[in-house]
């Protein structure tokens, strides 16, 4: 059955209610504590949010990427961390749907509405140079033996299933699915990042982890393609999260500018404030247009990697700059932990780096333009 506007409308309304009741009230608490409170993630699972994009035959709701992206935008207006946690899961599920063989998908996807799946490419040697990775997959009979160290994994430690980029003996790139319960699998340290404090970002150490042949995602030699595809999928959703962060910045600035007066004049009536509010609102709308175009193109089977890179490059820079403008409107309160603006800047700053730096985005956008 195709997805109707009414279904998406109900989903978005439900996400708004969940966000307003469960996430927005503890947004500051999550930032201060540096983690999700006990029980919150379970509520997300119980409400079926991990299964928004998962196919129906695997127990999901099979909403399309437009609906998933808009859901994350609305969620990020209340708490960006949980939206990024779901982004990491959704982009990984997309790779199973696109590249997974039937026996792998039948084995893993039925659990994907209950547990987080993660994608891990980055290694201590670097993130944006996947060809330089050291993780090895050695064929032994019908199995693969994987050894290596993956870092900066979104949801590392929270996720239970990991797609791991590795090199074969003949230096071909491939992605393997590894389960946290497999012998030789170990969690490493959690990064102490300055923003998106709820999202665990951590390390996974694989010491001769043996996986069966059907745990190969796609084909041998397809690793980089799958990695690029996962990046593009992630960047669409990050654009959505950034639009949500900017909405949060905008609302905070607008509300404050109505309440606060300078010489008996509400701040919003001052031209210096208007310029900042208008800039934030325009940047938010532009980011929304970019991520929605990315999602629309993906659903329509048109190329979307370039516009996805634009959504993240433009969106992340805009959200950081917009946060700074909102901070300036709030003055000293903006610089205080009492208001959310300072943590929104820290949250947005993560996305100038994650899933490829701005510089990497701009390189890819330029390459795409040169090739036209």
């Amino acid at each position: 059955m195709s997805i109707t506007n009414d279904q998406t409308k109900m989903l978005i309304q439900m996400i708004k209610e969940f966000t307003a009741n469960e996430l927005a009230p503890i947004d500051m608490q999550i930032d201060r504590a540096g983690d999700y409170p006990d029980g919150l993630f379970q509520k997300v699972v119980n409400t079926g949010l991990l299964g928004i994009t998962l196919p129906r035959e695997y127990g999901g709701a099979a909403f399309d990427y437009q609906a998933a992206a808009e859901s994350l935008e609305k969620m990020a207006t209340g708490n960006a961390s949980m939206a990024v946690t779901l982004e990491g899961h959704f982009k990984t599920i997309e790779q199973f749907i696109k590249y997974g063989n039937k026996s792998l998908n039948d084995e893993y996807l039925p659990s994907a509405a209950k547990r987080i799946f993660a994608f891990s490419m980055t290694e201590p040697s670097g993130g944006s140079n996947p060809k330089g990775i050291a993780t090895r997959a050695i064929k032994q009979g019908d199995n693969w033996v994987i050894t290596g160290d993956k870092i900066m994994i979104t949801n590392g430690g929270l996720a239970e299933v990991y797609c791991v980029l590795a090199k074969t003996e003949d230096d071909q790139m491939a992605v393997f699915v590894v389960d946290k319960d497999m012998p030789g699998f170990k969690f490493g340290k959690r990064e102490d990042f300055i923003g998106l404090k709820g999202v665990p970002v951590g390390e996974v150490v694989l010491n001769h982890v043996v996986v069966p042949d059907n745990h190969l995602l796609g084909r041998i030699g397809q690793g980089l393609e799958i990695g690029d595809n996962a990046h593009a999928d992630a960047r669409v959703l990050m654009g959505a999260v950034l639009a949500g962060i900017m909405e949060h910045e905008l609302q905070t600035a607008v509300n404050y500018s109505k309440e606060r007066k300078a010489m008996d004049t509400p701040l919003y009536q001052l031209q210096v404030t208007q310029e900042k509010i208008a800039d934030i609102a325009i940047a938010k709308e532009n980011t929304t247009a970019l991520y929605q175009k990315g999602a629309d193109n993906k659903v329509a089977n048109k190329p979307y990697a370039e516009v996805a890179a634009m959504a993240k490059s433009y969106g992340s820079r805009s959200a950081v700059a917009s946060g700074d403008k909102a901070l300036q409107i709030l003055g000293g309160y903006g610089y205080s932990h009492e208001y959310p603006v300072e943590h929104l800047i820290r949250d947005a700053r993560a996305m100038e780096l994650a899933e490829g730096t701005i510089e990497k985005m701009n390189l890819e956008i330029t390459n795409a333009e040169i090739a036209k």
């Binding site: 059955m1 109707t4 009414d6 129906r56 999901g60 709701a61």
Partner: protein
Amino acid sequence: MKIVVGIKQVPETDSVKIDPNTNNLVRSGIQGIINPFDKNAIEAALQLRDQAGGEVILLSMGPDSYTTSLRDGMAMGADRAVLVSSRAFGGADTLATGYTLAKAIEAIGDVDLVLFGRQSVDADTGQVGPIVAEFLQFPQVTFAETLELDSEKTLVAKRQLDSAVQDIKLTLPAVVTVRKELNTPRYETPVNIKESFEKPITIWTEADLNLDLAKIGQAGSPTKVTKVYAPTKDVKKTVTLSPDPAQAVSELLSQLD
């Protein structure tokens, strides 16, 4: 256990307008939602179904647009829905509504329990549940704060009164209206939202029910609304006090004199 939950679609906004000609609420153009107390009734029904098995059927009376609220209820997990809808039911007061819903419940057949929210947030009467119980000749408990299955054919409910708490055991079939303290309604889920479009909504008109036409709609409604109006907010005088606390106290005292 076959449970029917009566739900009403109410305007989402608090700023309800009244048509000066008809004295009725203007509902067009305003997003409709499930009456919040009815969500507690749906939640109670789902919990009882999960415990005892059976099905939860949503029942409402109103125009086609009420299907959005019925879908919302099914997205919480209800199994199917019945909408009683026809121009003939228009203008019904609580008596005619209660009569019509009772006839629909008879038509559904073999119903063990009928749940309602304690009242609607737009009309605030709290009458429809009790009226349905009277027409069906079912025992009823209103304003239930707890509701538990006691045996296959009995429920136990707690009612909070001003100076006492009543524990009531009632034999099924029965009607219960519930307070919001009873439970926390579950969220819709993405999967249930999709499924809500695959579950049936049966639409019945007066032709589908065994009705006395004189008891439905405007004709069956003894209540005559002579005037409904929004209270005007009348700010008589505003005085801004001095920012200096001592001066402000002195000014305030002089105002109170």
